[in-house]
């Protein structure tokens, strides 16, 4: 890693080594170029930076704290810390990039924000940003996820967003992305696509990462202030990978810090039973960018599954794909059972109900703590679990 990391990656065409880029039809290509150019000029302006800074402080409630898990650490060993993105306004890290994207939309004079959502966290965050800036908001969501994430659907509607149910294919996140892109293409002049993670064609993986970097910058500073040193490990869950890129980005240069990206292992290691893109996938092109992809021999994206809707995606951020290849980040899996166990452990030992997505990271931290009881572990607790409680009660019930 070098200090020029953020200037080197991505390159001007949006590539992180071989990954990323913009594999898109020409209509989208010209729109993406406009967004890229606008992002580079507007996001560097003092007005933009000041407005975003003020929003983060007064509206989102940043900085979110770093918290030492006393009882969890006593039980499992190690010293486990959480970066509390669950305390960010709307209950997840997603608002960090949504406010940035919506602010950019405002500067560009756009009237409408369009996006997909999996668990509904990105949708809620974007609907929130739209309400804040007085913009229209249209969220595309798979029917399966709509049924599973009812509270978030209601929240989006209360916030004034239109929720468009997606009924083709597996009716989850991948189909929602296709549907949202299609809606965006119908009116790229007045609307802007606000992708929900560090995925999609350039400039989204770069833009979303940049807006999420605040998580890592804060966490590193807060952790240093609390302990006087760097953590031995940093852990985050990876679906598309936005919360992970947020926290990892601050530690990439710290070679002594081991970084772990945790993928959803689902029900089994068979294709279709998980969404562990980097653990089991191969390079491919999906949704306009190159990344590790779960796909069949014909290049068709495979069905994916995870107990956590927000991790249920057959691709992954191009920067993660590169960080895997250059071995700076270790990617590993946590299955559904381990995830649910961690969900209850954090709830009952610390009084924090984590999102099922974030529970994957917590579960991995518990493993690390048991394996290296002398070590310190900083986990990005990317979201709170209120949205998951009905699903958990219906599917798993209370622990025995």
């Amino acid at each position: 890693m070098s200090h020029n990391y953020f200037k080197t990656y991505p390159n001007k065409d949006g590539f992180f080594n071989e990954y990323g880029g913009a594999f898109i039809p020409p209509v989208l290509e010209s729109e993406m170029k406009k967004i890229t150019d606008a992002y580079f000029t507007i996001s560097k302006s003092h007005d933009f930076i000041n407005e975003l800074r003020s929003i983060r402080k007064h509206y989102q409630g940043r900085p979110t704290p770093v918290y030492y898990c006393n009882r969890l650490s006593q039980k499992y060993g190690g010293r486990i810390y959480l970066k509390r993105e669950d305390l960010n306004h709307t209950g997840a890290h997603k608002l960090n990039h949504c406010m940035g994207e919506a602010l950019l939309a405002k500067y560009l004079g756009k009237k409408k924000l369009i996006a997909e959502t999996g668990a509904g966290q990105h949708g809620v965050a974007l609907a929130t940003a739209a309400a804040y800036f007085g913009l229209e908001c249209e969220i595309h969501m798979g029917e399966v996820d709509i049924a599973k994430e009812h509270p978030n659907v209601v929240r989006m509607k209360i916030l004034g967003a239109t929720v468009v149910p997606v009924s083709h294919g597996l009716k989850t996140l991948k189909e929602a992305v296709d549907s949202a892109f299609e809606a965006y293409l119908k009116d790229p002049i007045n609307s802007i696509y606000c992708i929900g993670s560090v995925v999609g064609p350039h400039p989204f993986p770069m833009m979303v990462r940049d807006f999420q970097r605040v998580v890592g910058i804060e966490a590193r500073e807060q952790y240093m202030e609390m302990t006087g040193e760097l953590p031995d490990s940093v852990v985050a869950c990876v679906g598309g990978g936005s919360n992970a890129m947020g926290i990892f980005s601050a530690f990439l240069d710290d070679e002594e810090v081991a970084i772990y990206g945790v993928e959803p292992g689902g029900r089994s290691m068979n294709l279709g039973d998980h969404a562990a893109t980097m653990s089991f996938g191969t390079p491919g092109i999906i949704h306009g960018f190159k990344c590790y992809t779960l796909q069949d021999e014909n290049g068709e994206p495979s069905p994916v599954y995870s107990v956590a809707s927000g991790l249920d995606y057959p691709g992954v951020g191009p920067e993660h794909s590169m960080l895997k290849d250059i071995k700076r980040v270790n990617y590993d899996v946590i299955n559904d059972t381990e995830c649910i166990d961690a969900f209850y452990e954090l709830s009952r030992l610390e009084g924090i109900i984590p999102a099922l997505e974030s529970s994957h990271a917590v579960a991995y931290a518990l493993k690390l703590a048991q394996k290296y009881p002398q070590s310190s572990i900083l986990v990005n607790l990317s979201g709170r679990g209120d949205k998951d409680i009905d699903f958990i009660m219906d599917t798993f019930g209370l622990p025995k």
């Binding site: 065409d13 880029g21 913009a22 594999f23 898109i24 039809p25 020409p26 209509v27 989208l28 290509e29 010209s30 729109e31 083709h168 294919g169 991948k174 296709d178 892109f181 299609e182 293409l185 119908k186 009116d187 790229p188 002049i189 491919g284 092109i285 999906i286 949704h287 306009g288 992809t293 796909q295 021999e297 014909n298 290049g299 068709e300 994206p301």
Partner: protein
Amino acid sequence: MNRIQQLFSKKQKQILSVYFTAGFPQLHDTVSIIELLEKHGVDMIEIGIPFSDPLADGNVIQHSSTVALANGMSLSVLFSQLEHIRKTVSIPLILMGYINPVLQFGVEKFCETCQSIGIDGVILPDLPLHEYTKEYKHIFEQYGIQNILLISPQTEESRIRMIDQQTQAFIYMVSSSSTTGTKSKFNDEQIHYFKRISSMNLQNPLLVGFGISNTETFAQVCEYTHGAIVGSACIKALEQPGTLEQNISTFVSSIKG
């Protein structure tokens, strides 16, 4: 001269190129549909390789892709169906699809197979120009496969000229900032765009795609360009009750009049 250039040297007006999704409505309809389209006076055919993640297509073509994939269509199945196509069909044939299935198949193997079958060109809407020239152009050229590139109303003039240098077939003009699908009539803005590109005097002929569904829209684009590409309207016709031949015959007259 390749088959596409031969076509345009014989006929400069009213070119009708038809798109359909391979494997739709039935897996083994591919060859019959191609033969019938030629028989009923279509000038060129674009055979769609179905993909479940189509960023450029509207509902009709997406739906046909879903059905085709469920029927078991894939690039290798398609190639085996087309193995002897040149025994019965002489008009230009183009494959249209997304880049990932081609990458997983292998770009060189793909071009080699296209050449051996007698496929003249390829349209990959999500393969950007600079990626094509950097990574794949030499392979396409080695096997004599024309890469047909798309332009939209937003494409800059310098880029259109660059695209014009990269192909010896035609330029695919996307009619609007939208996905594929039918419209009843083109508006003034679109007509202005057709005129603007037509007056650039490019070396390649121009075909307009997206939104042509009837005699009126076909006549509108033919006034300013060499002809049109029709996709969604054909897919809809193939779904009608009746034989393939009846449906195709009705469809062709609904466009050409």
